[in-house]
Symmetry: D3
Subunit: 237 residues, 6 copies
Amino acid sequence: MNGWLHIPSTWSAELMAHAGWDSLTVDLQHGMHGLEMAIQMLQAISTTDTVPLVRVTWNDPGQIMRMLDAGAYGIICPMINTRAECEAFVGACRYPPLGYRSLGPTRARVYAGADYAEHANDEMLTLAMVETAEAVANIDAIASVPGLDGIFVGTGDLRLSLTGGIGFDSADTQVDAALDTILAACARHDRVPGLFTASADYARQMIARGFRLVTIKTDSMLLSESAQQVIKQTRGE
Amino acid sequence: MNGWLHIPSTWSAELMAHAGWDSLTVDLQHGMHGLEMAIQMLQAISTTDTVPLVRVTWNDPGQIMRMLDAGAYGIICPMINTRAECEAFVGACRYPPLGYRSLGPTRARVYAGADYAEHANDEMLTLAMVETAEAVANIDAIASVPGLDGIFVGTGDLRLSLTGGIGFDSADTQVDAALDTILAACARHDRVPGLFTASADYARQMIARGFRLVTIKTDSMLLSESAQQVIKQTRGE
Amino acid sequence: MNGWLHIPSTWSAELMAHAGWDSLTVDLQHGMHGLEMAIQMLQAISTTDTVPLVRVTWNDPGQIMRMLDAGAYGIICPMINTRAECEAFVGACRYPPLGYRSLGPTRARVYAGADYAEHANDEMLTLAMVETAEAVANIDAIASVPGLDGIFVGTGDLRLSLTGGIGFDSADTQVDAALDTILAACARHDRVPGLFTASADYARQMIARGFRLVTIKTDSMLLSESAQQVIKQTRGE
Amino acid sequence: MNGWLHIPSTWSAELMAHAGWDSLTVDLQHGMHGLEMAIQMLQAISTTDTVPLVRVTWNDPGQIMRMLDAGAYGIICPMINTRAECEAFVGACRYPPLGYRSLGPTRARVYAGADYAEHANDEMLTLAMVETAEAVANIDAIASVPGLDGIFVGTGDLRLSLTGGIGFDSADTQVDAALDTILAACARHDRVPGLFTASADYARQMIARGFRLVTIKTDSMLLSESAQQVIKQTRGE
Amino acid sequence: MNGWLHIPSTWSAELMAHAGWDSLTVDLQHGMHGLEMAIQMLQAISTTDTVPLVRVTWNDPGQIMRMLDAGAYGIICPMINTRAECEAFVGACRYPPLGYRSLGPTRARVYAGADYAEHANDEMLTLAMVETAEAVANIDAIASVPGLDGIFVGTGDLRLSLTGGIGFDSADTQVDAALDTILAACARHDRVPGLFTASADYARQMIARGFRLVTIKTDSMLLSESAQQVIKQTRGE
Amino acid sequence: MNGWLHIPSTWSAELMAHAGWDSLTVDLQHGMHGLEMAIQMLQAISTTDTVPLVRVTWNDPGQIMRMLDAGAYGIICPMINTRAECEAFVGACRYPPLGYRSLGPTRARVYAGADYAEHANDEMLTLAMVETAEAVANIDAIASVPGLDGIFVGTGDLRLSLTGGIGFDSADTQVDAALDTILAACARHDRVPGLFTASADYARQMIARGFRLVTIKTDSMLLSESAQQVIKQTRGE
């Protein structure tokens, strides 16, 4: 299970790292943190064995490489709609000759060992987000890119793209069909399927359906919803 | 109901300010924030009508005055054990001739209006923490200090002081007797009684018993516990 | 009237928000703030009713989307020289099917309400900067892009591009002619015309001429110039 | 002339350092900065020859010593009401045998040279604030403390203490008499007299009267007032 | 061996934590960090097994307690000159009935386990700095305070106090005699003797002499000196 | 000689600026700092006469322009493999008509004077990194771009690209041949040749060979290696 970090704080990151998640993702796309805070949060996660991931803002090689240098063990890249975009993303995560990542793993080699650069191409996770109708249509072209490790579904964006509707976790024929398409492509190309969910219930359904990297809510949602709940409970509502 | 902020982040503060708390306390005693972040969190709370309070690190006039200048509408001061300590605390919150607060309400006058200094002595809340056996023994001397608005019980420290035990919210004869003593003194001297609780259940009991400024958990507890809960739910535990 | 923020501080942002501006722009192009400070400054502006805008560093969809998610109510995008650039910019500000903005309005939905995403396409302002000879030549192609709300003139860059000269606010035949061209295009396509000015005098002239979103100086200029003035006054110069 | 810094930003500090002030004071009493930002602002001031001063939060030896170690060339200490308080303040600024400052001028020795500690007792300015009726009554006892360099009048607090009134710069018999008392004591004991003013006019009057370290407004006031002024000018009010 | 942190950065702290020190001290007395950065640096140290210590700014119970709550495993307190000062220091580090530390180990219990508060009185290190002639004269009164774990010599301040001289590590009869006095008192009262050194040579001599918690240089010195050395080497000087 | 900054701290930057380097480079590609810290570090460098340079994250015009506006006196741009990439880079550093840099040198004009913009095209250094086989093959096309000032070799990436090996400074036929090719092209086109080295020895060899902008290690390496060395020396290893 994967936790999702939107609060720009090393303390909330450390708390989440101790909560029992298998991995934690610092979200630079919709989170409230800048790059330097993201790096400090990766440090905070390193106080535990939780695997640190980063969702980058965009398919931007400079940012992808920096977050890997800073100790991310994998990158989730939003809005991969074509094979070329996926190749650019994966290439930014791999040293030559497999890609074009620049050498300089400043924190990664402190944290993972002096031989980091020799093993990084094998170990760093690359997860392409599929979250539009176009991406679903191109799913085999995307999923078959060499060096890609998984497909991560942005369920909110996918629903919006397919149906025009806004929301998470609701049953929806078109979204469900797209999820089947994606799962099948992941099986065909031996990629890890993952997705974002906004509830434990939906997460369980998705795990049952075959998703393996399942995010459940964000830290913002957890804090906000539990505060509202405790206020209601105290008021006796 | 009063929320309690330990996470050093303006974003978590703004989320909490929108969650429905009547007031929010930036806790500089056991929280993870420095002074500048505390000020920025007061700004974040000011995006809503939630009343901003600060628990200071210690009975330190410099810090008390800075947090008032920065826009806190009240101060909770830890470890007030004697009348002299309470007088020093209240004096730091009041302009002459009632106290010795220094004039310079930099942010307070922007946020509360140019006439802030003329009304501050009437409006700023002063809450003395009673959390030791010594303080309970001195309760009338403390509660009767002119200008004091309320007594806030540090339930964890009070239990530790009275019983040597560590914990929150548990029924305990000695603590219960002390709470009765404190409530009675608040009634005698017309002070608002408040306390920290670690659960909605205990908060409800305490409200029923007459406490009016009731804190329920910290943001750290809310985040950590709800993360653990959602992980368990997803695992089907 | 629109204020312009270059100082990376939530306190100066809050002061400016209380000064009476209709809107305030956090300038990520020539300002001294990083992304996280920009977000915190948007929070500080939200303590008032002043409309928060952001000028982004460049026509970069990732940054544009993040600032909208963080609560900007409009984006000013520099160096729009062609219709394609304008379409890319506007598309980054609009959810499908009008554009390709990714769904995840983390702070925007707290601050603007849970239904933010349903109304954002109608409400978020999109202002393209026209500040080169090329852009003036393409003014109709740019101004007619569907979903664009206004044209904001970068007067310093425009002068430099047209005349090779450096400065603000000076009368200049070529610049004046370009301003007429831009105003006419705005009228034709029903777009709000705006610009940057470095003095109240020039701002008044420009308002009289038809500009509606008029920026007057930056916070840096206001602070620096007023400090120099008060020193001179005290010295009796 | 002395500028006064309330905005927590290295950029506004650098701007002020280039504006022509003889000295700049980072105000940790009523300013919005934490300790670390104060240190960074001292660095920003060091890009020019402007003399960096710090007003500390309170007569606290730990904070006084840290700001000297960080490169402040003088300390303004608030609320010195008695000779003992003044001795404690001056002692915190002087190495043994003149005082009890702890040795460790981390930044000061980089910035002022490796022999800093040998000359610091002669060079670091010590300015005691006289801002209450009690302090005026004790003025000779305070001003005669060995090692004290000057008396700085907190005009707002002094007025409040003497008259109960709130405001700056207004003519007031009691305040005027106190200023005369202070100036005379400074002359008797060869101390530099200084004060805070909120306008160039009052500053000029005070310089004419004999004050030598004259502060004029804060950066917050300069920014806020000039923003309001430029808005009015543009509106034609 | 103990490293000493003056650079306010989580990255330099993490680098130092990986360099092989047994313990690392975040120095809030002469370092350049504020409280919040100190906490983040404690997090960075927790990515390794290096023991995190804090030297506090002054014998200030509020700050001492905050740093323990934030995860420091021991406190070094400057300028302990009398038994009463030592008792106040040690009491701030111990929960009742041994002391008066307030209960609220926010980060400590996450990092050290939920039963932290039950064991903290036994585990948190308390190290009093002896660095003046007065303290040496009071050495038995200081060293015998119950709950004290060690004596840490501030060699620079001690030399200054005893001889008026400024410097580190130089042989000096008076300082040497004081070190003998301190070592003997540590032996008598079973306290760990420690000190600050500015070179590996002096550190080795001091270890041979019986000191056990030996600090060697600061991170600032290491960076500055090694930069100067590599420049000289490259220039062939 | 050029120092290289990876530690996100104004204090380490100021220390390095005083260490004797001719120039210092804030490295936004492999360093741990965000944009705002980079700007503050440029301020810290400005306390000395050391020339401030920035290596940007990627060939991104927005970031390049911001760092110039913030006071960088030159930009090192990674991964320039083609003439078109080099032209885009140099254009971002030059005002029209030589390039497309946007006008708004916020800090640069404070620090370098009000006429900064008139001289910037002549004074700002542009250094393209050549660090792949492709770039070496295109060396004349790259080096001949008008407005380019120098070629900076990324020795780690170049070795990886040419040989698949990871490391610095080792003798290697293929790398040596490429360095010759690059030096010859620099001579032909009158460009400054520079490179990164990880030791004083290699730096001396490279200076002897004709390189003029020679970087020796990073601040992280200096701190980490000197800490390890002092620990070993103290242990007598």
